[in-house]
Symmetry: C2
Subunit: 445 residues, 2 copies
Amino acid sequence: MLRLDLSNLDPRRVGAQGLDFAEALREEKERLEAARDALWGRRGDAAEFLGWIDVPEDTEAVRNVLRYRQANAWVEDFVVLGIGGSALGAQAVSAALGKGPVRLHFVDNVEPEPILELLRALDPRKTLVNVISKSGSTAETMAAFLAFRRWLEDALGAGWKEHVAVTTDPARGILRPYAQAEGLAAFEVPPAVGGRFSVTCPVGTLPLAFVGVDLEAFLAGCRKANETAQAGAEANLPAQTALVHDRLSRKGLNVNVFMPYSTRLRYLPDWFVQLHDESLGKAVNRAGEEVRTGTTAVRAIGTTDQHAQVQLFREGPHDKLITLVRLEEATEDLEIPAVAGLEALDYLFGRSFFELLSAEAKATAHALAKAQQPNFAFVLERLDAYTLGWLMQHLMWQTAFLGELWGIDAFNQPGVELGKEYTYALMGRKGYEPLAEELKAEGVE
Amino acid sequence: MLRLDLSNLDPRRVGAQGLDFAEALREEKERLEAARDALWGRRGDAAEFLGWIDVPEDTEAVRNVLRYRQANAWVEDFVVLGIGGSALGAQAVSAALGKGPVRLHFVDNVEPEPILELLRALDPRKTLVNVISKSGSTAETMAAFLAFRRWLEDALGAGWKEHVAVTTDPARGILRPYAQAEGLAAFEVPPAVGGRFSVTCPVGTLPLAFVGVDLEAFLAGCRKANETAQAGAEANLPAQTALVHDRLSRKGLNVNVFMPYSTRLRYLPDWFVQLHDESLGKAVNRAGEEVRTGTTAVRAIGTTDQHAQVQLFREGPHDKLITLVRLEEATEDLEIPAVAGLEALDYLFGRSFFELLSAEAKATAHALAKAQQPNFAFVLERLDAYTLGWLMQHLMWQTAFLGELWGIDAFNQPGVELGKEYTYALMGRKGYEPLAEELKAEGVE
């Protein structure tokens, strides 16, 4: 169960940067429902990259993943070679719900020292390497694959092939033919699913199967979010949170804090940051006009960041919208014991950690409102696979709605191309010599 | 060795949101040197909280920490109970430079499930618990201490006392008399040192001693930053980076990205976020006038966030200043091997991971500039204790300079008090009944 608490948006509490939500919903009902209809209407077209809507309905893909997991009970260390959308979803969900004993590792950078440290710590006989790249051309991921591939063969000879699983496009790119030629296990990123929307396909589900996440429940939660995304504006939760973002960004709030009250959800903001920033930070709209959209998502964790960022959130400029995530029940709780000699802390004695966490979450939300800092909360009944699936699919829908409301393509990322080309030029890749010359002339080499 | 690369601030490259640094330095020389003189002039006054300037000169405190570490060679797991400034510094440095075999754990939240998981994984006979709270009143830290204290006594009886080290104020608060009464090892947070400036005192050095960080070199680096902070404006590196922040924030850039190109530095942005946000997000200036200062620091890691945030940084609104951290040399490098069947990647064959990391860092900085996104870099000769100490003390100075330039108190955090009082009220603490009634009337309970 997931619900919204919008009470701290009320302008009577938070002043001019607030939002009369009920009034806004009446005013924008038509626009929101038009956006909904446009998104649902386009989902059959692969070029629209709306495949993430349908993936949670595809239970065969999950069964396939689970069969592979069962057939590979020997795995003790599971290494994801992936960056950005190929790592962030599984990282967020595994931190929240993963259970041992398989250890999950993410190689999402090319700094040599941590890669060397990991290679030295792993036993190749007990290690499965999952290389994840839809295009097969991501430099960081492919460099890591070359190194891990060599490391496996040096240790296992021809047996290396049993220790690699490839997750890539069903047809395009260099990894698919390579997997076929070598006879490697291979999984599909559906063509109409972009990296930041890929947690429900094998990009996410394969690693998560190895750490015991209940994938059926996770996908059922995603389907529940799909259901809410079909409703009229009055019950369409993703349209509603998109509306909050849309209205407050139009008031000039360009900073967008995402703050779950949970250490288990510590990587969820990183996943959200990519989803939100890469989807909505766009120079031009669909009509080709320069628009420069996008608010900057900021990671925070409660209560931890009460001691790091909340000072700014309360006293700094009124340029922020804060999204909180709050749990209503603990999975397992722990009593705070009484200790003789520390009676100054008697207000804690006999209470529970979850009571303290909940009190801090409510206290801070209210203190932010008192400082006229608008904030709203996703309230989760508890942290389980169903509810987390619902929340993540909700946030994908929220992002899609915002793209639609702003008239931009939320599913491309043209802004990262130039950096890739400069990298190729600096690495001496064939065909990039003119660009390398150009860079040299500008002092970059 | 640390130097600045300011070339991507040049308005000829990045347009109106750039900065002619040489001209700005000429214009602001007097103001910067007045700020420098004010800071150095006030440092003897404990009420000014400038003790962090002098701590790196205090080699006796470090020797004390190292003696304790040597006397406790039995420790296999070192648990920090601390939140905000009591955890972030040691976390950042240990991730960058820590060496096993002692495992360092940070309990910086009160969510019950992760605390239970840690307690179940630890062997109390091999565990040292370091409770860190300057005031001794931080609810989260003290709740955790009550639970760990009980857990140790349940397992070890009176022997629990050998498994606790207390880091707190030398006189104030409840932890100092408690440590004395129970005969616990105790370390000092100097009265004139605030949490976010405390990494050089035992708050940081005690955990770091247990993971083998070269503390003498770390503090020598901090002293080097002090030296640069005494220079005239033309050589005063912290005054210079403060100037960049000051000028660009006055142009309306309210988002402040901090992006090291290093997984080892993955927690440095979190430490910087607290330092910057909590110091500079202030409602009123020293004259009591409402000012609402502060830019929002945003965490990013290169190359990882090229695949998450750089799309927004390049194509989104021109509201950002980006600080990069780049390394000139690897500590240890790894070759990217050639693999038959993957010749499409031949531009990577035989190159090294560090070459790729460096190319990506330079390519992205240049691509950001091409999108008129101002950025500058701290260039570190390599990642070692001396250079990291220099960088961190530099950033403390940068923060202090900005507070001075903006006329605010960078060393308090009045904005977090109301949330603490609401928490006490919701937890039923004696004396907070009226506030609890007030909250109830507003629907918070």
